[in-house]
């Protein structure tokens, strides 16, 4: 596929990540919703460019607004990688795959994010999750596992909503866009 279109989709994906995250906090939603662009780019371009989209969006935000988002680039990159591989394997147009993506990312994203959050912020976020973290810390006696468990519910809802959103968008895209990655179980037959 055209290299220039790939670059443009990465740019747009990063833009969607940033605007999505800003809108979520402007509406005071208890979710991040800052990986929609990464998921979209990973479905359209494959795992590696999806990971690049995730990495670069956190780096961009770090340079322009808030430097502490840079370490979490690893989480966003991993989201791109995982979604990309799942989309290659299963396609991204059925109702099961986004749920599967949500379930896997609900575990993997906090698994990478919590050590970073514990190291840099002592596990705190400055938001509502801190209450749950405090309760878990009081009962489980472990810093890492409390920070990890406290992040699972938010991440599950967050990533599942993002994945379903991307699924509905990908379904309604024209056929040329869907052929950006080759899929095994695609319902639409590729037309040259």
């Amino acid at each position: 596929m055209d290299k220039r279109l790939k670059i443009a989709i990465i740019v747009v994906g990063i833009g969607i990540n940033i605007v999505g995250g800003t809108l979520a906090s402007a509406l005071k939603l208890p979710l991040f919703l800052d990986t929609i662009g990464t998921i979209l780019a990973a479905v359209l371009l494959g795992p590696w460019l999806g990971a690049l989209t995730g990495l670069l969006s956190n780096i961009f935000q770090g340079v322009v607004t808030n430097p502490v988002t840079i370490p979490f680039a690893l989480v966003n990159g991993a989201v791109g990688l995982i979604v990309g591989f799942i989309a290659l394997k299963r396609g991204f147009e059925d109702y099961v795959t986004p749920l599967l993506v949500g379930l896997i990312l609900a575990i993997v994203a906090p698994l990478i994010g919590s050590p970073i959050a514990v190291y840099v912020f002592g596990g705190l976020t400055g938001g509502g999750v801190d209450i749950l973290y405090g309760i878990l810390l009081g009962s489980s006696e472990r810093i890492f596992s409390s920070a990890f468990l406290a992040r699972i519910p938010t991440n599950f809802v967050d990533k599942t909503i993002s994945a379903y959103l991307v699924m509905f968008i990908v379904r309604s895209l024209p056929v040329q866009w869907k052929m950006l990655t080759e899929r095994k179980n695609s319902k639409t037959t590729p037309v040259e």
């Binding site: 055209d2 290299k3 220039r4 279109l5 670059i7 443009a8 989709i9 990465i10 740019v11 747009v12 990063i14 833009g15 969607i16 940033i18 605007v19 999505g20 800003t22 809108l23 979520a24 402007a26 509406l27 005071k28 939603l29 208890p30 919703l33 929609i36 979209l40 670069l56 961009f60 770090g62 340079v63 322009v64 607004t65 430097p67 502490v68 840079i70 190291y119 840099v120 912020f121 002592g122 705190l124 400055g126 801190d130 405090g134 810390l137 009081g138 489980s140 006696e141 472990r142 810093i143 909503i161 959103l165 968008i169 895209l173 866009w177």
Partner: protein
């Protein structure tokens, strides 16, 4: 929306123009290299007393030859958050055994370590970003990989457009009666606003790709201007100082590990 500052439509990010300090004049490659060394040294800090010394050293190095008081002002929200971290861990850290009333000593030490480290990391990042405009940082990326710099620079132009589109969509949907009070309504409002923006920006991606094609991107490698960052004389001492800082912390760490 709080995303970035811009002046005459050009994104200035965290760049601080108040002074033209030593750090402002230093070349971007030197600054990035020094920041990396200083960060590594900071991460290697072995215990809290060393960390206090390191934090003071880094803040002095950032403030005196750098943007001055303006940098400390940027750190203010992080200082408050750090105090919250210290308080949280003093109250709830599971390692607390020595306690005074509700507060525990071990948690206090843990919280203070994290808080000092956070302030130093943010101070270092602010030092680099307050003295380097985002455009220069992203152009430096293109010396690693051409396309990476291009993506970031395109994004700098694209993001204001995307925000404008977001505002337009928000106003259009509000005219159609969109409102958000409860949590479910807010989520619905989010979806009704983000979906049109995503679709429109995908159209824009196509336009952006044809623009790149029209300007001959990817056709002739010689047309593009290459940015080759260089080391500049007169800034070697700061590299040496950063290396010493990193090495000193490494030595202290190794010594304490070998003693035990």
């Amino acid at each position: 929306m709080t995303e970035g500052n811009s002046e005459n439509g050009i994104m200035t990010g965290l760049y601080y123009e108040g002074t033209k300090s030593f750090w402002h004049r230093a070349p971007v490659k030197t600054k990035l290299f020094c920041s990396a060394l200083l960060l590594l040294g900071l991460v290697l800090s072995v215990n809290i007393s060393i960390l206090v010394v390191n934090t003071l050293f880094l803040l002095t190095l950032a403030v005196v030859p750098g943007p001055g008081i303006a940098l400390l002002r940027r750190l203010k929200p992080f200082v408050f958050f750090s105090l919250f971290i210290v308080l949280f861990h003093s109250l709830l850290n599971p390692a607390n055994t020595t306690t005074w009333g509700w507060l525990g000593w071990e948690g206090f030490l843990y919280g203070s370590t994290v808080a000092l480290r956070l302030v130093s990391i943010v101070g270092l990042a602010q030092l680099f970003l307050m003295t380097t405009p985002p455009g220069v940082v992203f152009r430096y990326f293109s010396s690693w990989h051409r396309d990476m710099g291009l993506i970031m620079l395109l994004l700098m132009g694209f993001l204001p457009v995307l925000k404008e589109e977001m505002t337009t969509t928000m106003q259009a949907q509000q005219t159609r009666g969109l409102h958000w009070q409860t949590l479910l309504e807010r989520l619905q409002a989010y979806l009704t606003m983000i979906i049109p923006v995503i679709i429109k920006s995908l159209y824009r991606a196509q336009g952006m790709a044809s623009l790149l094609l029209l300007r001959g991107y990817g056709e002739n490698q010689d047309v593009q201007t290459h940015f080759t960052p260089a080391w500049t004389k007169g800034y070697y001492w700061i590299v040496a100082l950063s290396s010493c800082f990193c090495a000193a912390n490494l030595v202290i760490l190794l010594r304490s590990r070998l003693m035990h």
